[in-house]
Symmetry: C2
Subunit: 429 residues, 2 copies
């Protein structure tokens, strides 16, 4: 059995299709801003039920996607991300239920103050409006991203990778079922129905109807989106994360935290890529840390002063300091104390997540204040760079930009605010 | 005596000039992020003293700008905005002192929480980095914008209107004096030294060194900046602000607030442009409000049902509902209750500031929740749309966008944040 993806429409047709999607999203956003928490949760729970009920359909769609991808030579990690099985589908359903269980950020009063003239001013969270999500071939993102947008009161326009087209469509149908069951317009979560690449370009130009674009995927996808978008982009670029072992580091913590930061999972953006060691403790701290990494199969690329003490390391090049390996490889450099660490990270880091290991409180505060990254840690693993670990419940990504949201982007970060001012006839002098 | 503005450099020279400005700003931003509150305040107070000491120089520069502008046919409000006199120069100095007196937003911990694993997470305000300000020929903005950027720890690149070139340069020299007196790099506040229009285009493309662009000026300037910028823009577009007089409005408040909202100052973005009156109280509330406006010289353009009761009004066209007059003109329309008011504002408003006059709390809450504007008021004048009136001390503008900052943009809104995580050797399971 084969199902064909919708034939490629002509450009003029596509323009009309995208304009219709934008208008529908904008209208849905107006409705969503007033939708009750109960209705949003009902939609999420009904969607989870639909995902479970239609597991067979989703698996069948995914089998077709997998067959096509294999025929096109897709392999390895990419193929694994595309694969769905009953456990993963149950995980998708559970993810929807988890978002339903999170507090609703919309309508929350975050501050209230009274002015001398008696005006009472409140800051109240409101949705952003319409969020465009562009992602690679991970079918689960269809549900995750749609759910986070819905719960935060935003309309979503989703565009997944072409390899996952049928899987995403099957999952999206369940989300639509959920919306309908709760009396919310099904256009609250739309999936662009064509894989035509021009559709992405059009979406990036829809600044009249789309409020923000969130790209989820590799560096090339994100860079392309940032370059071409006329709509503001909330993106996370590289996670070139550092662990700095200070001269006052507790050796046991240094070993344990570095090992976790690098090797717990090597493919996530919060994985450490570079280890900096204070020259003052090269003789004591370097070998135990590197031995622990090597014992777990980590390749070590180091500068000359490190290699003199640890000859098993290969030579690091300038390029290594700028590389996000996302693999069991670490670059290692000796630095002159906290200042040397700050200098290195300021030059090569990606403003994502960096950690200092030290028992010296002053050194820690200098590092925490001096590193311009979204997340800075003291005596803790960089792999804590995660919305769930922060207590946000779920995240759509980690922003390395400084505007709007920085660090983990959860439900609150998908909102804006308005000022509500209550008076009794006040006029401005 | 005449001074000529620097000769127009060739494009390749200009590219080098702008690249140098960008690099210097980025370096200054790193220094500024660590600069103490005391040093920043010292620079602001020293700059205020320099402004006073050099009043003669500034007036002479302004006289040249004025002469050139008049020769070029500049007149009216634009010429008035360009004019400096001893009182206005004293106002500029006082403005710098007022910013010095404001609390420093940088380093403020806005939230702290502890995770079950013992990690203590804090959200700490940090500067945005480099802010580009593009403004029209109002010399005072040179000082105001420079001061707000400095106090919030951001490096500023200023580009004022060409008519005010010499005045802005004379004021900028005082800011540089202040920075030097406090030991802060003078490049913390740079003024683009050429009036070449290509410099603006280049600034808008400097996404590697500039973090945000804030345009201050009329609609055409802001639209051009938004269209051309590769750097995120924080802009306020039109202020098409509404006052809605509900059927449960107290008549005295309706008269007083509407008059203030429209006529206190007609040229500011928070000035009301459209009055909506509930059909249920046309007979009682319309005439007193319009009489009060007319008595102050306000021109009234109205729909048919209003004109039947108030024949002195001229006929409003569809275009009137979309117009920000910034003048003593008001458009008036009869609507069907709160729902009618929400419909009209949703269709024609600019998401800036809107007010309801009513004694009915339920009607007020419906309006406050249903209007998607940066500021919504109950029984208060739209002219309160101002950072000073909100207690922010000073503002660089009012943002009508929903990303990053919405409403008055004061010092806090010119910052980002970072997460500081303190642990004791925690690793992620």
């Amino acid at each position: 059995m084969t199902t064909t993806v919708a034939a490629k429409p002509k450009t003029e047709d596509l323009t009309a299709v995208m304009a219709k999607i934008g208008a529908a999203a904008k209208a849905a956003a107006v409705a969503l801003a007033k939708t009750s928490t109960e209705a949003k949760n009902k939609a999420l729970l009904a969607a989870a039920a639909a995902i479970r009920a239609r597991t067979g359909d989703i698996l069948a769609a995914n089998a077709q996607d997998m067959a096509t991808a294999k025929a096109q030579g897709v392999s390895g990690a990419m193929l694994d991300r595309l694969l769905l099985n009953p456990e993963r589908i149950e995980g998708i359903a559970k993810g929807l239920e988890a978002v339903a269980a999170l507090p609703d950020p919309v309508g929350k009063v975050t501050e209230t103050w009274t002015r001398p003239n008696g005006l009472v001013i409140s800051r109240v969270r409101v949705p952003l409006g319409v969020i465009g999500i562009i992602y690679e071939s991970r079918p689960n993102v269809t549900a995750d991203a749609g759910a986070l947008c819905l719960k935060s009161g935003n309309a979503a326009i989703l565009r997944g990778g072409s390899e996952s087209a049928l899987s995403s469509r099957a999952i999206h149908a369940c989300l639509e079922d959920g919306l309908r069951a709760a009396g919310i317009p099904a256009t609250a979560i739309q999936l662009i129905p064509t894989q035509d690449r021009q559709a992405v370009g059009m979406l990036l130009g829809m600044s009249d109807s789309v409020d923000i674009i969130v790209p989820r995927g590799g560096k090339s996808l994100i860079e392309r989106v940032q370059k071409d978008s006329r709509v503001p982009v909330m993106a996370h670029l590289d996670g070139i994360c550092h662990v700095y072992v200070d001269k006052a580091a507790d050796l046991e913590k240094a070993v344990k935290v570095t090992l976790n930061a690098k090797m717990r999972r090597t493919g996530i953006c919060g994985a450490a890529e570079t280890l900096l060691v204070d020259k003052a403790v090269l003789n004591t701290h370097l070998k135990p840390v590197l031995d622990a990494l090597a014992a777990k199969g980590c390749e070590i690329r180091a500068d000359d002063s490190v290699r003199r003490l640890y000859p098993a390391a290969t030579a690091a090049t300038e390029e290594d300091w700028r590389t996000e390996y996302l693999d069991a490889i670490i670059s290692v450099r000796a630095v002159d104390g906290v200042d040397g660490a700050i200098d290195h990270i300021s030059r090569y880091g990606s403003h994502h997540t960096d950690s200092i290991i030290t028992e010296d409180k002053a050194a820690a505060e200098k590092f925490l204040g001096g590193i311009d990254s979204a997340i800075v840690l003291h005596n803790a693993s960089t792999q804590f760079a995660d919305g769930g670990e922060f207590g946000f419940g779920a995240e759509i990504g980690i922003s390395t930009g400084k505007l709007h949201a920085r660090g983990p982007v959860g439900l609150e970060q998908l909102t804006s605010y308005k000022y509500v001012v209550r008076g009794d006839g006040q006029t401005r002098p």
